[in-house]
């Protein structure tokens, strides 16, 4: 039975969209609220405002791809759905940064893990960063509402073998583990969430908030890069966008000028502060783009005698927070343990080496498991994150130094992961590091890990969670936005995305972005209605 494509059906019914690549002349659009970025924060806000009766324009830099376009192929997905064609990395090139870039943003390609913001994180924001009104109690109804709307429940099917390693190892060692809540309905358990869900089971923005916005009469402009705001230091007068070609790589030369009563920036970490930097937004205390966090990730590979088939099945279903808070909220860095799905191209770069050594590791792919640690950065005074800068062409890059504080966490995480992998029955464990070799037992792995030089490039590092850069907090000397997401200096500008977070989350951030954006947007809708 062919899978239906509700987005294409909606387009046929007359949803209003503008394809930047096909513009033959410059365009001017007027709206009540312009929302920049169609990911978790932007689409959630667009839907709420359109439901409240406001005219909404949702603006996306990437292309419009829908379920009929998703062929479960790495080459197609990486080239069309990821920022910079999967080439985004930290300024020194040492950290690969995975972020989505298409209608639906990162929600289109994330692995569906949906955690509430930990209570410890919300409490830390209140005490250390002057965030008000976002405590655990205040947030609870918003988490409940989003979980209900997006079908977020703990994964009910058995974990795939790749995730089950984490469960088994933790069980053996008496470490805490739990089942991951996922935002899916009628999931086929395929394993290709990172390449766009071909059956519309993932409750991404593409199948939920964006269709609802368009159904409410909202409009979508895609393949259009928000270039800069024109403002007088207090109010934004308009937004200038550049139309991009169908691949979303080169500007076509056409311009789109957008006038709105209010503007919401929701381009995510890196892109949101970059838009404000290009716009020369007031930044009297030099906070813009600073304190950008990554949940820096390192990896440990293991070979099992049994088949793992790490490319099939729900990619993330088990996690462990055993090492997350054990040294306190602001002590040595804590980390969350999860696993990534392994399709051949991504696996080839993770498994390390080259030539016949890499080919040998790749030949064992069906028996290979990989675990990852997400380092909870930003809670300790020595963990100040990175800074977003603009390159010569105005595009952003993140300068994120890996400090001794983080290296200590990377080493402890290598130890924890090897221990859990052996406890789960691994025949061999190989920390993902250029100097590492396969260890046949835990003692050997421990000696090797203690001796590893944790320098850039030797340690393979990644991030799929960019947070901060437009931090919220009531003190303008510390933060870019207040606790309602209002820009401290520009009165008709709000930020509703992960760039608001004053630290990392300590969990995959999508539900935090949904719930916090929804709460802020609820208040914004009331303010806009009052001043109408």
């Amino acid at each position: 039975m062919p899978v239906t494509d509700p987005f294409r059906q909606g387009l046929e019914r007359g949803w209003i969209t503008h394809d930047g690549s096909r513009l033959e002349q410059d365009l001017t659009l007027e709206t009540d609220v312009a929302v920049i970025g169609s990911g978790a924060g932007g689409a959630t806000s667009a839907q709420m405002l359109s439901a409240a009766g406001f005219k909404v324009l949702l603006i996306e830099e990437g292309p419009l791809k829908t379920s009929s376009d998703f062929h479960l192929l790495e080459n197609e997905a990486y080239a069309s759905l990821y920022q910079e064609g999967l080439g985004r990395m930290s300024k020194d090139g040492a950290i690969t940064i995975l972020q989505g870039r298409a209608v639906g943003g990162t929600t289109l390609i994330n692995w569906t893990s949906s955690f509430r913001t930990p209570a410890q994180t919300l409490a830390h924001w209140a005490t250390a960063h002057g965030v008000t009104g976002l405590g655990e109690q205040a947030m609870q109804p918003w988490f409940e509402r989003i979980e209900h709307d997006l079908g977020i429940t703990p994964w009910a099917l058995p974990a795939n073998a790749n995730n089950d390693v984490l469960r088994r190892g933790c069980e053996q060692l008496g470490y805490r583990w739990a089942v991951i809540p996922r935002n899916v309905r009628g999931c086929w358990n395929l394993g290709y969430c990172g390449m766009g869900c071909p059956v519309n089971a993932k409750q991404s923005m593409l199948v939920t908030r964006i269709p609802a916005t368009l159904e409410n009469g909202g409009e979508l402009l895609y393949l259009a890069r928000a270039e800069r705001f024109e403002h007088n230091g207090e109010r934004i007068a308009r937004l200038q966008c550049q139309a991009l070609d169908a691949q979303g790589v080169h500007p076509t030369g056409r311009q789109i000028s957008v006038r709105a009563r209010h503007y919401i920036v929701a381009g995510g970490g890196i892109n949101s502060p970059a838009l404000l930097l290009r716009s020369k937004a007031p930044d009297p205390h030099g906070r813009l783009g600073k304190r950008t966090f990554l949940h820096l990730v390192n990896f440990s590979a293991a070979r099992f005698d049994a088949r793992i088939d790490p490319y099939y099945g729900a990619p993330q279903s088990i996690y462990s927070d055993h090492f997350q808070w054990q040294d306190g909220v602001d002590g040595p860095v804590g980390y969350k343990l999860e696993v990534p799905p392994l399709h051949p191209a991504l696996a080839s770069t993770l498994l390390g080496g080259y030539g016949s050594e890499n080919a040998r590791r790749m030949a064992e792919l069906p028996h290979t498991h990989v675990m990852l640690a997400l380092l909870r950065d930003g809670f300790h005074p020595e963990s100040t994150g990175g800074a977003v800068e603009l390159r010569g062409d105005g595009s952003p890059v993140l300068d994120y130094p890996v400090t001794d504080y983080l290296r200590d966490g990377l080493r402890r995480a290598f130890h924890s992961m090897a221990q859990i992998q052996f406890a789960a029955g691994a025949a061999q464990v190989t920390p993902v590091h250029s100097d590492a070799r396969a260890a046949a037992n835990l003692d050997e792995a421990r000696r090797m890990i203690d001796a590893l030089r944790l320098e850039p490039f030797r340690t393979r590092l990644g991030s799929a969670h960019v947070m901060g850069g437009c931090a919220m907090g009531d003190d303008p000397r510390q933060a870019v936005c207040d606790s309602l997401g209002r820009h401290h200096q520009l009165e008709n500008l709000s930020v509703h995305d992960g760039s608001l977070f004053p630290t990392s989350i300590g969990a995959n951030p999508q539900l935090s972005v949904y719930a916090i954006s929804a709460k802020l947007c609820d208040a914004l809708a009331a303010r806009l209605a009052q001043s109408a």
Partner: protein, 161 residues
């Protein structure tokens, strides 16, 4: 660091940086049959493929076309950086001092290419370590994105929907 190493280090750094600024002078037009890859990029890549992808069934033709597709999707700035990397490999001024391959790439032996990769991996220059990581990642992903690569790694391919 020995004084001699220090000299070599600063020589390398300044050569790399001056090359980066010379990029405007090297041709930017794609080779016939490619969207992005230039004729000047091909000899080094053709020398690297049999070493980086040794032990696989990779054909040069297939890897180059897959790589070309990847490069065409990069942001202009990332493509510029990647082309600077290829220029460092290709321009006579930088190739010998920085890669240790003093002759042309089509004359380079597998052992020379291996020595070059080792030298960049262990370099004290961040730019060269980044170059090493980028070259491996680009070529490995270019190959393993091809369905022809999957049988050898036991990947049955995506399920039919």
């Amino acid at each position: 660091m020995q004084r001699r190493d220090l000299l070599r280090f600063s020589l390398g750094a300044s050569l790399f940086l001056s090359t980066a600024s010379l990029v405007g002078c090297s041709a930017q037009t794609p080779a016939a049959g490619y969207q992005v890859l230039r004729d000047s990029d091909l000899p080094a890549l053709l020398a690297l493929i049999p070493v980086v992808l040794a032990g696989t069934a990779a054909s040069e033709e297939r890897v180059l076309h897959s790589l070309d597709h990847k490069l065409a999707a990069l942001s202009p700035e990332m493509l510029k950086l990647t082309r600077q990397l290829f220029d460092v490999l290709n321009l006579p001024l930088t190739r010998g001092p920085l890669t240790g391959v003093w002759g042309s790439w089509d004359q380079a032996s597998g052992a020379q290419v291996t020595a070059f990769l080792q030298r960049w991996q262990d370099s004290s220059l961040n730019l060269l370590r980044m170059g090493h990581a980028s070259l491996l990642q680009l070529l490995q992903m270019a190959w393993y994105e091809c369905p022809q690569a999957w049988a050898a790694c036991g990947y049955p391919g995506p399920p039919r929907i």
